[in-house]
């Protein structure tokens, strides 16, 4: 069973739809027992970091998520919440990754970074069958810095972490569920982990 973490962030429907298109049904839950028992866990999200962290802490979900051992995939805000700290609402996050989350600063380029972009330095099996010429769909105003756990880079205003990994914890900044065939391939790769 695939579990999707239920919390106060949007975009859960598009992830369940993407799984459904692959013939996989997912359970949307915030029940610690069900999350622990799931074969795989997806942590999606479109929302604001500090209010999302508050929600997770109030329910003890922060500790539950950190302690999971099965393949885990954070998407967009999910990736940022898995980092150490976020400038958005100046909040400490789950700290699964060492990297910090900063706001894009530019007077020239448009923020949010919204649209299709390719990634380089692909170092994770999530990118099997995907090349540095393939584009993913991004929508974000904050980014995780590059670090030792970076498994893919994207460049917009500056190079940032498009994907991160530590042990069973994987995360991507873009939206695979909105990234056409390439995104579907990445989700398939995750399901095969």
């Amino acid at each position: 069973m695939i579990a999707i973490v239920k919390y106060n962030a949007g975009n859960i429907r598009s992830v369940t739809n993407a799984l459904h298109r692959l013939g996989v049904e997912a359970l949307v839950t915030d029940d610690p027992k069900l999350l622990r028992e799931a074969e795989k866990v997806i942590f999606p999200g479109v929302g604001e970091a500090s209010s999302a962290m508050r929600y997770l802490r109030e329910r003890g979900l922060d500790e539950v998520l950190k302690s999971l051992n099965q393949p885990f995939l954070g998407i967009c805000l999910g990736l940022q919440l898995m980092c150490k700290h976020s400038e958005e609402g100046n909040t400490d996050c789950l700290g699964i990754f060492n990297e910090n989350v900063k706001r894009f600063q530019s007077t020239k380029e448009k923020v949010p970074h919204m649209g299709w972009n390719n990634c380089s330095e692909l170092k994770s099996s999530l990118f099997n069958g995907i090349s540095t010429a393939d584009d993913f769909y991004f929508v974000h105003s904050y980014h995780a810095e590059l670090g030792t756990q970076t498994t893919a880079q994207c460049e917009y205003i500056l190079p940032f972490s498009a994907a991160l990994q530590k042990d069973n914890f994987h995360a991507v900044q873009f939206h695979p569920e909105k990234s056409a065939e390439v995104g579907q391939q990445l989700i398939k790769n995750f399901l095969e982990l």
Binding site: G10, R13, S14, N17, A18, H20, R21, V46, G47, E48, K110, P112, M114, G115, W116, D135, Y137, V139, S141, H175, E177, K178, S179, A180, E181, G183, Q184
Partner: protein, 241 residues
């Protein structure tokens, strides 16, 4: 895509499509061809039609795997809540934002500015670009450039700009208008109105700096196939997916 009572209106002339009036069939063809985003505009005026549209949005979200924007008849936070919950990525507002500009802020605060698209229909009155509402039927006193800046300040995440002078002419996009709008705003601009061939897309990207271009009938009728268009843009060094 213009939608009425859950069906695509405006003519569609695809060969490999079973039902040209079914927006989902059409959407799937565009996804396959490499469209980067889709826009569905509900032009139904009835309450029943609106309900059909909300249901349709749910089905679109189930079937397609690229971002899509929905618009038409949106005037409140609760309207948007329903459409986003059904799976839309962004909503586009037009007349209701002109009537009550605070709506832009309300939506941006509630859902984030990345999902608030302000659509501007621009037409010339006595040589000046004015904002039109109600599907281009009503002229307002609003200056297009002032309105674009105001919409951005209020929290619009994107501007979808249609030149009514160019729409349907197939003579090219409104280069001067779009160039100036792009220079005075900091959010992505989607150019709309006037696309007739690949060169028009090359021109709008090279000459105005806009981020995206939209077309309807030339795609519906297969006059400019998307894969071919993207190849031509690539040849000119314009980055495309």
């Amino acid at each position: 895509m213009d939608i009425k009572d859950g069906r695509t209106v405006k003519g569609v002339n695809f060969v490999d499509i079973r039902d040209a009036g079914d927006p989902i069939e059409l959407a799937k063809v565009y996804v396959e061809q490499g469209a980067d985003e889709l826009v569905f505009l509900d032009i139904t005026a009835t309450v029943e039609g609106r309900k059909t549209f909300a249901e349709l949005v749910g089905h679109i979200a189930e079937e397609i795997n690229i971002p899509f924007t929905v618009g038409g008849g949106i005037s409140s936070v609760s309207d948007v809540e329903k459409l986003l919950a059904a799976g839309a990525d962004k909503v586009s507002i037009n007349s209701s934002a002109v009537k009550r500009p605070e709506l832009i802020s309300e939506l941006a605060n509630e859902f984030g500015n990345q999902c608030v698209v302000v659509a501007i229909d621009a037409g010339k009155v006595d040589g000046k670009w004015r904002v039109f509402t109600h599907g281009g039927r009503t002229a307002t006193e609003l200056d297009v450039f002032e309105w674009a800046k105001q919409a951005e300040e209020l929290g619009a995440g994107e501007l979808l700009v249609t030149s009514m002078e160019h729409d349907g002419t197939k003579g090219g996009f409104a280069i001067e208008l779009l160039k100036e709008l792009n220079a005075i705003t900091h959010v992505p601009i989607i150019a709309s109105g006037g696309a007739g061939n690949a060169q028009h897309f090359i021109d709008v990207f090279e000459k105005t700096g806009v981020d995206a271009a939209l077309a309807a009938s030339i795609f519906h009728f297969g006059e400019v196939p998307i894969p071919q268009l993207k190849n031509e843009l690539r040849t000119k060094g314009i980055p495309v997916r």
